[in-house]
């Protein structure tokens, strides 16, 4: 194996890349490739931090079953409705947790359920509108007993 020798420029590039990823995910970093998973599902378009409200308990004593609720501000008409809501974890072994498909027949863009969290983290909800626009929100939960020991 050839030893890896980095010059000053490469080191600086690496350091700035690290800085950039730390900026994008301030809490624990993208150890599980969550941002890549979000791009794989929704593309490279801008995702505005608006319209989506994600609620999870600030303290989860049991990471095996954490309730969440996501509601998107939308009139849910033929012309303007939510088509998809996806829930992502930045720390679980698989970033994508669940995807919900809605239509004008939903009447209300609100879903809730229960998820597993492998430790304290931010949970992210991304919503796609019928015009293709994307919105997101995140919420943090302190998890006392993690759902997954292997990370």
């Amino acid at each position: 194996m050839t030893p890896v020798v980095l010059n000053r420029r490469q080191l600086l590039l690496g350091a700035s890349a690290l800085g950039a990823s730390a900026y994008a995910l301030p809490v624990f970093g993208a150890g599980n490739g969550m941002e890549a998973a979000i791009k794989a599902m929704f593309g490279n378009g801008d995702i505005a931090e608006a319209k989506v409200k994600l609620t999870i308990p600030a303290l989860s004593e049991n990471g095996f079953s954490v309730p969440f609720e996501v509601e998107v501000d939308s009139p849910m008409t033929e012309d303007n409705h939510v088509t998809k809501i996806a829930i992502f974890s930045e720390r679980n072994p698989i970033p994508l947790i669940a995807t919900y498909h809605l239509s004008p027949r939903s009447g209300r863009a609100k879903v809730n359920g229960r998820i597993r969290l492998a430790g304290t983290q931010n949970v992210h909800a991304i919503a796609q509108m019928s015009d293709g626009s994307l919105y997101r929100a995140s919420a943090n939960s302190f998890v006392t007993v993690a759902a997954c020991i292997i990370l």
């Binding site: 095996f64 698989i94 947790i97 919900y100 498909h101 939903s106 009447g107 229960r114």
Partner: protein, 107 residues
């Protein structure tokens, strides 16, 4: 494994009203990350899809991954359009289907 499904939906509704639907199913949602007492990985076995049909038309669908808790529960909404049957259908990764239905009277 015996599987029980529970549905919560109003029996009656007024046309145009947005109604709340709740679905619950008994399922381990084995994540594939747990190990047994011998240290062997327990294979993944999860429900991968939930669909709600209103008079045979799909009105809501969910795709599940191992991050969904055991005994999945979900709440969602739909607009009451006419009297008919609501079918709640869960599909396991094995292809096995679990379903139940309820009638709604819309006035």
């Amino acid at each position: 494994m015996s599987t029980s499904i529970r549905i919560k939906a109003p029996k009656t509704a007024r046309k145009g009203d947005v109604i709340e639907l709740k679905a619950l199913i008994q399922h381990k949602m084995e994540s594939g990350y747990r190990r047994d007492e011998k240290g062997e990985t327990i294979p993944r076995k999860i429900l991968t899809e939930f669909v709600c049909l209103y008079d045979n038309e799909e009105i809501f669908r969910a795709d599940f991954h191992p991050g969904v808790s055991a005994n999945p529960i979900l709440t969602f909404y739909t607009r009451a359009t006419e009297s008919g049957t609501l079918v709640f259908r869960w599909t396991e990764q094995t292809g096995e289907v679990f379903e139940d239905s309820t009638e709604i009277k819309v006035t």
